[in-house]
Symmetry: C2
Subunit: 398 residues, 2 copies
């Protein structure tokens, strides 16, 4: 399709309504501010839009009570990014909040994107298609196939009246995009009843601006964090992202490195790269979310510390948690272990500024194949969990 190849060369603004109270979660914190991997959900949605170069500005609409928290989230982003974001106060209903957001949009904007703060997995390619379709048709919205059949109950006694033919209908999702004049016209003309109880923007634009939206089938990642259980889902998906690419720095010729390579690839479906040379690693890997360093033990602690520090300093680790595992092998007596404990704890402390999770796994390479299996299972488990509460700990596979 031609639209896929075009680029966005006109001003685009994003309005993120994030003023909901999150009652459905059964939590006191609105879901967009619930913590996922140590950051509020809203952080990830902002991050996704800030990573799209052609998005000119982002208007976040939050309720009065959460203005402070929102400013704190913005501190996580570097100044040039942060300056793209405007925070405005929400109102009593979703539509009134969106309207507040729209009024803050720069008037020379061509296309306005509406998105939910609780859908943090935005894909740039799909966003571009939505924006280009809105530029062409006046409005565009994401749709997904219906998961459940839709039924209509009788009004009097809640009996099945009829069920809809699933093939004729779709679920309307976010993002949606509108030519700025069209969405402004719709909100200016619509009634108080629409602002209080209105269904959705596609409908308002159709009714009040005479614009029919183009519906584009979106990726499955567009789902919305609605219930408590969705927080587990989003955490799992974000962690998956972080172990998608694994780097192994094999600081000695351990067959264990090869074994790790194979098992991680199989069990985590990760892309695994194995380096034997630290210099090469530093020049090749600009970003790393998951790093494993294998080393013989007893090792030169000073040199090892140096290796880890150089790797952490020499690569751009982004602002997400990085995990460094030192997998040490080969037959020391248990009485050299206290040094390993102190060493791992100290490295974890030193590298805290990188918000890295650091662990050591010790396996006696003369040990049974059982012990090696357990060591590999522990490494994989630590990669999956990347749990800051366990940073600085040593794991022993005997």
């Amino acid at each position: 399709m031609a639209a896929d190849r075009s680029s966005v060369d006109f001003p685009v603004s994003v309005v993120l309504p994030a003023a909901g109270s999150g009652e459905r979660m059964g939590l006191s914190t609105p879901k967009q501010f619930c913590s996922v991997l140590g950051r509020p959900l809203l952080y990830y949605t902002l991050q996704a839009f800030l990573s799209v170069g052609w998005v000119r500005e982002i208007i976040v609409v939050v309720s009065q009570d959460w203005l402070q928290e929102t400013s704190e989230i913005l501190q996580h982003f570097p100044t040039p990014s942060r300056s793209k974001v405007t925070v405005v106060a929400g109102a009593s209903t979703r539509h009134r909040s969106i309207w507040n957001g729209l009024k803050a949009v720069g008037t020379d904007t061509d296309v306005v994107v509406l998105h939910d703060a609780v859908r943090p997995l935005v894909e740039e390619d799909y966003l571009r298609r939505i924006v280009l379709a809105a530029e062409e048709h006046g409005a565009a919205g994401a749709v997904r196939p219906l998961i459940s059949t839709v039924v209509s109950p009788t009004k009097t006694d809640g009996m099945l009246d009829h069920s809809l033919d699933r093939s004729q209908y779709q679920a309307s999702e976010m993002p949606q995009a509108f030519r700025y004049p069209a969405i402004m016209e719709a909100y200016q003309k619509c009634s108080d009843h629409d602002l209080d109880f209105g269904t959705e923007c596609l409908h308002l634009v159709q009714k009040y601006a005479g614009v029919s939206a183009k519906l584009l089938l979106g990726p499955s990642s567009l789902w919305k964090v609605t219930l408590r259980k969705d927080l587990y889902a989003i955490e799992g998906v974000l962690k998956e992202e972080l172990w998608k690419n694994v780097v192994i720095l094999s600081d000695c010729k351990l067959p264990l490195s090869q074994r790790l390579h194979k098992d991680i690839q199989e069990q985590l479906s990760s892309e695994v790269v194995l380096f034997n040379d630290q210099e090469q690693l530093a020049t090749t890997c600009q970003t790393m979310a998951t790093l494993i360093v294998t080393k013989s033990f007893p090792c030169d602690f000073e040199k090892t510390r140096d290796t880890v520090s150089k790797v952490l300093d020499g690569t751009n680790i982004g602002d997400r948690r990085v995990m460094v595992l030192l997998l040490c092998g080969e037959t020391p007596a248990l009485d050299t272990m206290p040094r390993l404990f102190n060493f791992t704890r100290d490295i974890a402390k030193e590298t805290k500024k990188h918000s890295a999770v650091i662990n050591s796994v010790y396996v006696d390479s003369q040990a049974s194949s059982d012990a090696i299996d357990r060591a590999v299972a522990m490494v994989i488990s630590l990669i999956r969990q990347r749990d800051p509460a366990l940073s600085g700990q040593v794991f022993v596979a005997q």
Copy 2:
């Protein structure tokens, strides 16, 4: 409502279609056989129905390739439970599979429940209401409010034709229940086209048996595992269940026990019970999914091992993973640590038959309040993750 208080005093059978291929997951394993906390998803759905006393039989419909796996799942249940389950082979479409299942139902059954294998969170009270409504009206089905607005695209160019008024429609979910003769009549009369492309059973029963279903609003736990990310959600929910009740056995007067009590309650919303007496614990707690034992260190290892063994043997731990944490305090030299390592590893091995995850967390009680914070954070983290790969490990908060 009267229906809520009635009991089910007629024969009820359950048909669980589980023959889907799970293409939507992007996984080679069908989602009902994907592993969650070490067991296939189907296990949990079976467990839920087997725990309902008035369910007489369960017919599981699986594809030919998964018959063996299904038999293995059944081995996890004791014989009286297992004998309630019949496994039959599925067919090429969902409706043909359900039809295979219905033909295996005992002919003296009054009400047949249809449920998805990929909705493991079945609540007995709600199931009872569905079954009683089916007995009364001939058919009943679960509904939930729509999460997304439903839209209808134009056929020619995928533009928005109209959006539905959300208040008029609901999402049809599972379970559904039918009087046995009604559902049999529907499947006998329906066309091949229905069996190949049919929408849903409520519709078939309406069309071919003239029965309109009662629609009952269900709990939010009825959601269906559809995409990969839902596996993270279900794992999170099942883990939550396991830490809902936490038992602390305080084997000495450690203020740490009180601190743990408070923090676990606050951070995990658990019910926490604190015992000082092992005998009392054994008689009071019939089932335990999360146990913490606090002890002074250095401790009498033999006595501690004895305590743990007695607790594990004396209480019914069910067939789910139990987590035992030994939280040890008070100033030893690091050179007594190797004994703690071996001790923890040995206990983990010995108690493997209980499928328990065993860890020790060591904190120096003379240490800074930082170290105590870290120890408590580690205990909470271990309770949340309950990771078998880390069983037998010692964690040190210095």
